[in-house]
């Protein structure tokens, strides 16, 4: 299946899912992440491999990006979820894909996105008593000396 076909297949099933303009990334409203995940994990789409979870701080919102692949079928899909800075709660998919466990912890550690239903949501890279979320654009720390820009 080509990326646009995958995106069309998911959108046919879930009308609330959108496609990002210019790409084949699909944008899922945060309420429906669990049911979409459940659906695409199983055949016919069978995305059995949650490869990567990324956060991006867009200042007014935080995007969480899931990169998924299917080992058997040789295709992939990228799912995007937009979170407003007021409400950073999102359902955890770690019950569906085990790899999400650490990947979600990392996003929590660096961006402060709260994955509800996660079995063990602690910081992972930074010390457990660390303050702040370092990869947010407005993060500051006396340790951090910025390199002069070009």
């Amino acid at each position: 299946m080509r990326p646009d076909e995958i995106s069309a297949a998911i959108r046919a099933k879930f009308p609330q899912v959108k496609e990002e303009a210019g790409t084949n990334y699909i944008i899922v409203p945060k309420e429906s992440i669990l049911e979409v995940s459940e659906y695409i994990k199983n055949p016919p789409l069978s995305f059995d491999n949650l490869h990567c979870i990324t956060g991006i701080d867009r200042k007014e919102k935080i995007e969480v990006i899931y990169t998924l692949y299917s080992i058997g079928e040789h295709y992939g899909v990228t799912i995007k979820i937009n979170l407003t800075s007021e409400d950073l709660n999102i359902a955890s998919v770690s019950a569906i894909w085990k790899s999400a466990n650490w990947l979600e912890r990392e996003v929590y550690d660096l961006f402060g996105v709260i994955f509800s239903g996660h079995p063990d949501l602690r910081r992972i890279l930074n010390p457990y008593d660390w303050q702040g979320y370092p990869l947010r654009k407005d993060y500051s720390n006396p340790q951090l000396i910025a390199k002069p820009r070009l």
Partner: protein, 171 residues
């Protein structure tokens, strides 16, 4: 070390069959022993650790300088080679390891990261800027990213020199 030529009667001693002996002060003897059996701690932090292992491997063979016995326990070590980037999470651990080493103890800071933070000086929130900022006194700094094994050997020789020049052998 006092060599045989320098003492009166050296000629006589030579004449004794199978003869020849050796005089030294106990102090320099102690220093000689200390300098030629520096046991480093296996303490790889980051990239530089690979070069430290390579120095221990056959081609460079750190054993020639008596420093090839890498010990895993700090209690059996004489020299701590800080090989790699020190991160904030690791700070306390390094201090504790250093405290656990018995005297006399020496520290080699291997690589730019262990000296000052190196390539990770700017823009990081989680890298400690050098071993000395932890309050650990460093004896030999070896710059490089990573330093070549030859550099580590040179640094080791410098440390041996330093030990031989020490005023107080019982340190």
């Amino acid at each position: 070390m006092v060599v045989i030529e320098k003492i009166p009667g050296a000629e006589l001693i030579r004449k004794v069959p199978g003869g020849g002996f050796f005089l030294t002060t106990s102090e320099s003897f102690l220093k000689w022993g200390k300098a030629s059996s520096l046991w480093p701690m296996t303490f790889g932090l980051a990239c530089c650790a690979i070069e430290m292992i390579a120095t221990g491997a056959p081609r460079f063979d750190i054993d020639r300088f008596g420093a090839g016995v890498f010990r895993a326990s700090p209690r059996q070590c004489d020299v701590m080679v800080v090989a790699g980037t020190i991160c904030v999470k690791m700070n306390d651990c390094i201090r504790r390891l250093y405290a656990q080493m018995p005297e006399p103890k020496y520290v080699i800071a291997l690589g730019n990261c262990a000296i000052s933070g190196g390539i990770f000086y700017y823009d990081t929130y989680s890298v400690t800027k050098g071993t000395e900022s932890l309050g650990i006194k460093v004896d030999v700094f070896i710059p490089g990213c990573p330093p070549r094994p030859e550099n580590l050997l040179f640094g080791l020789m410098k440390l041996q020199e330093k030990i031989r020049r020490e005023k107080d052998a019982a340190r």
